[in-house]
Symmetry: C2
Subunit: 460 residues, 2 copies
């Protein structure tokens, strides 16, 4: 067990010499504002908040913390869902928000270089005039650094990949204060060990990302949307598999469980009824080809017994549909006032999706709890938002989490598709990775021998 | 400097106890057959060849070699181009060819699990009845294990990604004989450090891949092909960028330099003339949409001054075109009888491609050497096949390599896009990665402290 030292006045003085007096604070309000992300995990206070403005400052802060044996927890936007940036062991909270510059746009290379504190929605607003966008869309206005650290994903992963698939190069500050560059602006790279992907998804436990070059995608000329409802989950997923099997490169293939569809029908006036629902988005270079795509999708859905089908190429209608999808959670909050929520995040090979859904439904039933099933079915990722209102409810929700995660792992899947391990999934790491966890520990020990980086996360 | 021990009779006896007498050989013919890949690097003899048949045998062999301090060099198909599997320090040659089984096909998951000795072309023949294929296509009949170890790519990377983008999970034997599983059959995964991509591209220096689950792609309903010739490289690449900018997900965007186009025109009777030529392949789910794609591509090429343009949806004509592309090197061999070749492999951000081509042409001119420029322009990857006939020619070719690699790195690119570091690119690792090479060394030291795995490769 590593033991940590407290943040001393001497350390605070040294930090102030690095970042300036105004960029170090021990004020309770600042620490409280960064004590808890959007997860169900308990808040913890850091001892001080530090706001670096440059990569060199990040490296200098880490060097000081490393020498002092003080924990450092990086903080992006605080929108994570697994306690990933909660400073469990106190120490320094490294607030990345002032490192939010677009460093360079390379439109002809379909690339942008940014600082990690920038929100991806802000980035996409900046890129719109160039007709480009950064594809991963986890929701909220997650910071790029947080997305990289958690390998966040979202609805469009089925076509464009997760964050890890959309980054080419990074600058990373190591625990001992070294500053390195990993990856390359070349989209093809075979030159040595893939350190880039070692740091992506490591949740700030191996290094702190100080700059990243991201892949961009041309904004599609035509976007169409589809809603189809099915008599059963199995038919809905069969349709998802069949559509992927055509080679149509669908940009989103989202699943909404029957109960949640019913909430949307009631709250938003959609006509999904109380049936398993699939939402899709299809991107195309010209509208005539989008029409062909939609006809093919319709045929498949009809053949697999869709009870409802609606396709649209009208932007307003499409946006309205995705507005409903993106606000399902708010509708749930209205439908179940005063409740708290745990959001489960598991993923399996797509053919096991119906079995995963069934496991979630039966785990909910066993605990007599309400859970909303919403998932990125195109890549086998399921979320279950479980409502609870007291400590007993929380315990039951955690039992549901345990049952569903165990089933996901048994089906060849993972304990977390896009939220990361954070605090809540550490207990499943050995079940999922067996002795590979030892190798993860060896790498952690090599890169962060004093264990100062985001302690209490990822590794069990 | 690590020193190695020779392969003793005692070790051979222990190996025979693991794999059987018939699967260990010190016969010169067997060692000669695996002393050199398809690169220009010199042959080296191993001391013994071992043919494992199971992952457990691989692990046991590594444990014995680790204890004995004997080098182990994995060998796939021997089709690599940078000396990657040449047993520079002797020791054991781990011939993976008997581990060539398809372990499981998961058609509804678009996945297959294979042993590493299987050739990717053999795999694709096996998958054809399922309407699926493994997309990376490096040429020859590279083994899956070799493709993973070198992160091989090919013509279709621009749409489907390199090998690293098409693998989900692997079993890996570590230097000390541990056998671990990395990754997940879930296409989305955020559970802990990305060990999968640490081993992919590590060229057998961190572990030996004993099994892999690969992503598959539905065989497209319609494939069309395009050839366009341009008055200058810049216009050709402008067209490539513009086509990518439409959002059209072109499956191949290949560049052929003017001199090589002239060879193809002469040898294969195509009408490319002596002009920079772009070859494309477009995959579509229906022919009507392919026609729209082709019209759009034609318009762009015309606007950018294409002097020739031909598009086809006829399978025979398309195959004939790609046959020419895939046999360009053989035509060069015929055109320059009795010469040897070095194949350069560099990649840059796509906007710098014309500059890279110019650098290659001027480096060739400076040494008065012939070089054939053929590249995967869609992802900024350029090959230059340099002809030489004697030692002086080899030295001049190596100077050209050095000049072109330096320029690629200066342009924000990489010393190797798809051939790996092997022997020949080690000298550029520090120029490309600076102090990140130290981190690579630390990881190598952690995972292979006795340095038995493929010594003399990747790290300078």
């Amino acid at each position: 067990m590593i033991s940590y030292n407290p943040v001393t006045d001497e350390l605070l003085g040294r930090l102030a010499a690095v970042v300036g007096e105004a960029a170090v604070s021990t004020a309770e309000a600042e620490r409280q504002a960064r004590a808890k992300d959007m997860s169900h995990h308990a808040a913890h206070l850091s001892e001080a908040v530090v706001w670096p403005q440059t990569a060199e400052q990040v490296a200098a802060i880490l060097r000081l913390a490393h020498e002092a044996g003080v924990p450092v927890t990086p903080w992006g936007a605080g929108s994570s869902l697994e306690g990933n940036p909660i400073p469990l062991h106190g120490g320094l909270l490294l607030a990345m928000e002032r490192m939010d510059r677009v460093v360079a746009v390379h439109p002809a290379d379909f690339q942008v270089t940014v600082q990690p504190g920038l929100g991806y929605k802000d980035l996409n607003l900046r890129l719109a005039p160039d007709g480009l966008f950064f594809a991963p869309d986890p929701g909220a206005n997650a910071s790029i650094g947080g997305m990289l650290a958690n390998n966040a994903a979202g609805s469009r992963t089925v076509k464009y990949g997760a964050t890890k698939d959309n980054v080419l190069a990074m600058q990373v500050a190591l625990a001992d204060g070294r500053l390195i560059r990993v990856g390359s602006r070349s989209v093809k790279q075979s030159a040595g060990y893939d350190l880039l992907h070692l740091f992506v998804g490591s949740e700030g436990t191996l290094g702190v990302i100080t700059e990243a070059t991201l892949k961009l995608v041309p904004r599609p000329a035509v976007m169409s949307a589809v809603v189809a409802t099915f008599p059963a989950v199995a038919a809905a997923i069969e349709a998802v598999v069949a559509i992927r099997g055509t080679g149509l490169d669908v940009a989103a293939l989202e699943f909404v469980g029957a109960e949640t569809a019913a909430v949307a029908t009631r709250e938003a006036g959609v006509d999904w009824g109380e049936r398993p629902t699939v939402l899709m988005e299809i991107h195309a270079a010209h509208s005539a080809s989008a029409e062909l795509d939609l006809a093919l999708v319709q045929q498949i859905c009809r053949e697999l017994g869709a009870t409802g089908f609606r396709a649209t190429m009208d932007p307003t209608e499409r946006q309205a549909l995705w507005h409903v999808r993106h606000h399902l959670f708010e509708m749930l909050l209205r439908a179940f006032p005063g409740t708290h929520w745990i959001v489960l995040d598991i993923a399996v090979p797509i053919s096991s999706y119906p079995e995963l859904v069934a496991a979630a439904e039966s785990a909910l039933a066993a605990e007599a709890m309400f859970g909303s099933l919403i998932g990125h079915a195109g890549d086998g990722n399921l979320h279950v938002a479980v409502a609870y209102s007291d400590d007993d409810g929380l315990r039951r929700a955690e039992r549901i989490n345990e049952a569903v995660v165990s089933q996901a792992i048994a089906l060849g899947g993972t304990s977390t598709g896009e939220h990361g391990v954070g605090i809540g999934k550490r207990q499943f790491m050995v079940a999922e990775h067996a002795t590979a966890v030892d190798v993860m520990r060896e790498i952690k020990q090599t890169l962060d021998p004093r264990g100062i980086l985001n302690p209490g996360k990822v590794l069990p």
